[in-house]
């Protein structure tokens, strides 16, 4: 059932997100081609600026839409009229939350990959990139071994883990706020926003309290870096679990469809 739900969510989201990312890649490819054949030298500057502006806006729009799509989809698919269909299929609420979370992670990763690929494609030709790659890895490795006594790949793995967890924790916090918002009979979206603001304030208050309690200001810079990495990892994990449990409780025991 979970697999079916994930497939459904991916299919639904791909309708919007796939063409968007395909368009970005296509525009980048055209841009790279224009740079490679030096056609840009014959285009008026104003025109070039407009093309760049358009491209930049497309890139920003893609990133923004990708990060908010699943939050919107979570609300629309589960708490508007479509919720009448979704909540009457024989699937427990944790599967709905998991499925939406998986879809969100997948698209955020695809989105990041597309953006990175696009930037590299515009900055370097393929030959330049292939030459520069070993040098880049060396710099990264020097940076991370200096601060964390870890090999570069280990550090990259850790960063990836933290990146994934940060997607999860942000997504689940939004999901939880939507589930709180739906408890109200009116102004449900407004209530979700207010819940999000209160949650953000509470989390930052508690985290600064903890930071002060452990004495972060007296740490050396390398201890501080290690500490911030580990605390980020730990807090994301704990918060994700809490948000998931609360959201699941609200959907399974406090569902209140209009």
């Amino acid at each position: 059932m979970l697999g079916k739900l994930i497939a459904f969510d991916l299919k639904a989201s791909a309708r919007i997100l796939f063409p968007l990312h395909a368009a970005v890649l296509l525009c980048t490819l055209v841009g790279r081609l224009m740079l490679s054949v030096r056609i840009t030298e014959y285009i008026p500057e104003l025109m070039l600026a407009l093309i760049f502006l358009f491209y930049f806006l497309l890139l920003v729009a893609t990133v923004v839409i990708s990060s908010f799509y699943f939050i919107y989809w979570f609300y629309k698919n589960l708490f508007t009229d479509e919720g009448y269909l979704m909540h009457t299929i024989p699937a427990p609420s944790w599967m709905h939350i998991t499925s939406k979370t998986v879809g969100m992670i997948l698209w955020q990763v695809i989105d990041l990959a597309v953006v990175v690929v696009c930037i590299f494609m515009l900055l370097f030709s393929f030959r330049e990139f292939a030459e520069a790659f070993p040098q880049m890895m060396k710099y990264l490795s020097v940076f991370f071994t200096y601060y964390m006594d870890l090999e570069a790949w280990g550090a990259i793995a850790l960063s990836v883990l933290i990146f994934l967890l940060s997607i999860i924790v942000h997504g689940l916090s939004a999901f939880m706020c939507i589930a709180i918002g739906q408890l109200f009979n009116r102004h449900r979206i407004l209530a979700a926003f207010i819940a999000y603001i209160i949650l953000s304030i509470a989390v930052s208050f508690i985290s600064s309290f903890i930071m002060i309690a452990v004495g972060y200001d007296t740490m050396g810079s390398d201890t501080y870096l290690r500490f911030s990495y580990l605390s980020e990892l730990f807090s994301s994990l704990v918060l994700s679990v809490i948000y998931f449990i609360v959201t699941n409780y609200l959907i399974s025991r406090r569902l209140n469809l209009e």
Binding site: G83, L85, H87
Partner: protein
């Protein structure tokens, strides 16, 4: 006959107002039950509780011995009073959706009914009229083989000819062990198919009787009795 649905002292409160108050009733298998009452009498609230879309404030509800949850959702086919179809889907997409998520969905029956009502499976739901969407939704629901069909205002938005077809469909697809709970204002149209009626008034059961009892004891049709009980 055996019990399919039982509820004891079922209450649902919104803020300080009771939408359902101390509803206690039993539905047997193999019946067509009319859930009748004016607007705001608690019909939809009751139906949402049966389908697990609302959680009761007090009291208990059991379907096949289970409280509303994954197990009961498998055995209930629910037609809400609103359109729940994703507008970007085509009819064949929503058919696929039902076939994927319900193991008791009968695709052949659905295709037959769609062709009887001349609905194109390639058509997008977005471009359909409200009445056609309602027909599609009803076909989806009636194409499942389940113990309990819950139809909230199933014939409100469709024309009388389609209404006849739909009632005929409901009756001809209906398995003798299943129960159909129909909520409607259009009592006269469905009176002849009902076995039992439940009158809801201000969240409470005003009457729960068989249609035969109403006719023989009160000497009235259900429609006449309804107009009398709920006179404004």
């Amino acid at each position: 006959m055996s019990e399919l649905l039982t509820c004891q002292n079922l209450c649902k409160r919104f803020d300080s107002k009771y939408a359902l108050a101390e509803v206690t009733l039993t539905l047997q298998r193999g019946q067509i039950v009319g859930l009748l009452g004016p607007n705001g009498s608690g019909k939809t609230t009751f139906i949402k509780i049966i389908n697990g879309l609302l959680v009761p404030t007090e009291g208990s509800l059991l379907i096949n011995g289970f409280t509303p949850g994954v197990e009961t959702k498998r055995q209930i086919a629910y037609l809400p009073e609103r359109t729940y179809l994703n507008s970007w889907m085509k009819v064949k997409d929503i058919l696929q959706f039902f076939a994927t998520f319900y193991d008791n969905f009968n695709m052949d029956r659905a295709m037959q009914m769609l062709s009887d009502l001349r609905i194109d499976v390639g058509e997008r739901l977005k471009t359909m009229s409200k009445g056609t969407k309602e027909k599609v939704q009803l076909i989806l629901v009636m194409s499942r083989d389940v113990d309990l069909y819950v139809l909230d205002e199933p014939i409100g938005g469709v024309d009388p000819a389609a209404r006849d077809y739909i009632l005929h469909t409901i009756l001809s697809n209906y398995n003798p062990n299943s129960t159909i709970l129909i909520s409607t204002h259009l009592i006269a149209d469905i009176e002849n198919v009902l076995d039992d009626v439940i009158f809801l008034q201000n969240g409470q059961i005003a009457l729960h009787a068989t249609v035969d009892e109403i006719r023989s004891q009160k000497g009235k049709s259900v429609d006449e009795l309804f107009r009398e009980v709920f006179r404004c």
